[in-house]
């Protein structure tokens, strides 16, 4: 199937968002439009404060757009919902539940009436898919950050939604584990045919994962870059390839141009 035949999964139409304080207003997003196809992996790339996490919070329904609308499968997004599973940077596992308990919580929330036996089997299989079968009876406090984030991914998968939203999920994880997790997410999203929106400030991460990279500057989309490298991608295979280097250079240029502008503004205003 070519891209043009694919259905639109998420439709962001002229969306603006203002943070309203007691004294001041701050427009975090200005008139943003973006269309995301079914099964597509989109990275929102930008430096901190560019509004990428705000855009994700509109997608997951925790914030409501001040202007414009977001539609998923044609339906208006009016709040959080189980059609969009979220993985945060803070893993936020439920501390009173074991790894398996956390995944089971997700399964119980997904609205499908599984029998108890099915739920237990599913929980095991989700934990296995993130490579954590051996730690299923551990509590979050007994797990490392990387392991906790794996459980969080398994819990998000357990919601069995078509859409996965990631909010800088691996920002707090050390580089070696981060690579493992990136490859895990890349593999799982293809395997399970998920539509993914992934917020990051890491260019390499974006190239490794995305079909399309949306580069953001404060409040707006600066540019959109297609990543035309077949999945599954491996970091070691990518580095040194011409296509990769070109992409990297392109992204760095667009990324740092606006960082320079920012510095310029900070110095001269």
């Amino acid at each position: 199937m070519s891209d043009t035949e694919k259905k639109t999964k998420i439709n962001i139409n002229n969306v603006s968002f203002e943070y309203v304080d007691k004294k001041s207003k701050y427009e975090a997003l200005k008139d943003i439009s973006l269309e995301i196809k079914e099964g597509e992996f989109v990275c929102l790339l930008g430096s901190s404060g560019c509004g990428k996490s705000t855009l994700l919070s509109l997608l997951n329904g925790m914030n409501k757009a001040t202007k414009g609308e977001i539609r998923v499968d044609g339906k208006l997004v009016s709040g959080p919902g189980i059609d969009r599973a979220v993985v945060f940077q803070h893993y936020s596992l439920f501390p009173w539940l074991t790894a398996k308990g956390n995944v089971l919580f997700g399964i119980k929330q997904n609205g499908k009436n599984y029998s108890k036996k099915q739920r237990l089997e599913l929980a095991d299989s989700y934990l296995e898919s993130v490579g954590l079968s051996y730690a299923k009876d551990k509590y979050p406090a007994q797990l490392s950050g990387g392991m906790q984030q794996r459980v969080a991914v398994a819990r998000a998968l357990a919601l069995e939604s078509d859409i996965l939203l990631f909010d800088e999920p691996f920002g707090a994880i050390d580089p070696k584990l981060r690579l493992e997790l990136q490859e895990l997410v890349s593999r799982l999203s293809v395997e399970k045919k998920k539509t993914v929106v992934f917020v990051t400030h890491d260019i390499d991460e974006a190239i490794l994962l995305a079909d399309r990279i949306v580069v953001m500057e404060p409040g707006k989309i600066r540019t959109i870059v297609d990543v035309d490298i077949p999945h599954p991608r491996k970091r070691d295979d990518l580095v040194g390839k011409k296509k990769y280097e070109e992409l990297h250079k392109k992204l760095i240029t667009s990324f740092y141009n606006h960082v320079e502008e920012n510095i310029y503004e900070e110095v001269f205003l």
Binding site: M62, P80, A85, F88, S92, F94, P140, L159
Partner: protein, 313 residues
Amino acid sequence: MKEKGLFKLDRSMYPELAVATLLFITDIALTLAMPYFSTHKAYYTSEAYITILVVTYVLYIANLFATKKKSASDIAVILFAFFALWEVSYKIGWIHNDLLVPSPEGLFHVFLEKPDEIVADIVGSVKLLFWGFVLAILLGTLLGLLAGWVDRVREVLLPISNVVTLIPPLMFSAYFVMVLPSFRSAAIAVIFMAVFWPTFQGMVTRVGQIDRRIIDTAKTMGVGTVGMLFKVIFPYCLPEIIGSISRTLRGAFMCLSGAEMLGMNLGIGYFTEKYKSFADYRCVLAGIVSVGVITTIIDLAVKKLNNTVIKWK
């Protein structure tokens, strides 16, 4: 350090163990030998006192082997030395007034003289405590959960509770005794007042301080209001709820004993108050010791509950 088995003790523990044991034997020898030196008329047999000594020693040994800490021996040494000093100063006549300060034999003998009365009073107290406490904890937690989550409920109930908690619960007891149909219900009401409001306020605070990220995560997972209260917030707060139980229990017992002393006809507080009027200070002391023992047992039970329920911390 090498891991030792349950019944093995490090050599460095031996000196303290020896001192504690020596003092324990001294205590027993003193009570068996000293009757003949006593300058007082009142004489009580030693069996109750010796039983207490032996139980204390057994508990000490059990604690020493369980914790493998020298502080266990230190406590035992202090306790047995205190008993020895008490015994000696009583028997050689340093303590003149044996009405006010009885011998250790005399104190513990009370438990042999009035076992039924003491047991009945303790059971009475604990029953009252139990009902008042369970009712208050359940309602306080439930209402606190609701008020913590729903702004409007909180804005109504919190100002009310801020006023009521400032009134010492014991002050209600004089009135409750008159208004309510029985002493029992009055005592339960007093305990309820002592436990309900702090529990309620603690719960409201806890819900307010809950990690927003946990709530956000639950919201993105489509958890509704009821699920949020009972499947997310309640388990999240459970360790602190149980942790606060032993604190509120202490307050509750204080109020109960106070209430019993003010106008009840049952309970260990009433027991103590009654024998105070008879100027039987042996019994008064025995009542005080009983309260110490019960509260300790309840405290240990709560800790045990905490360790069995809260596995994730």
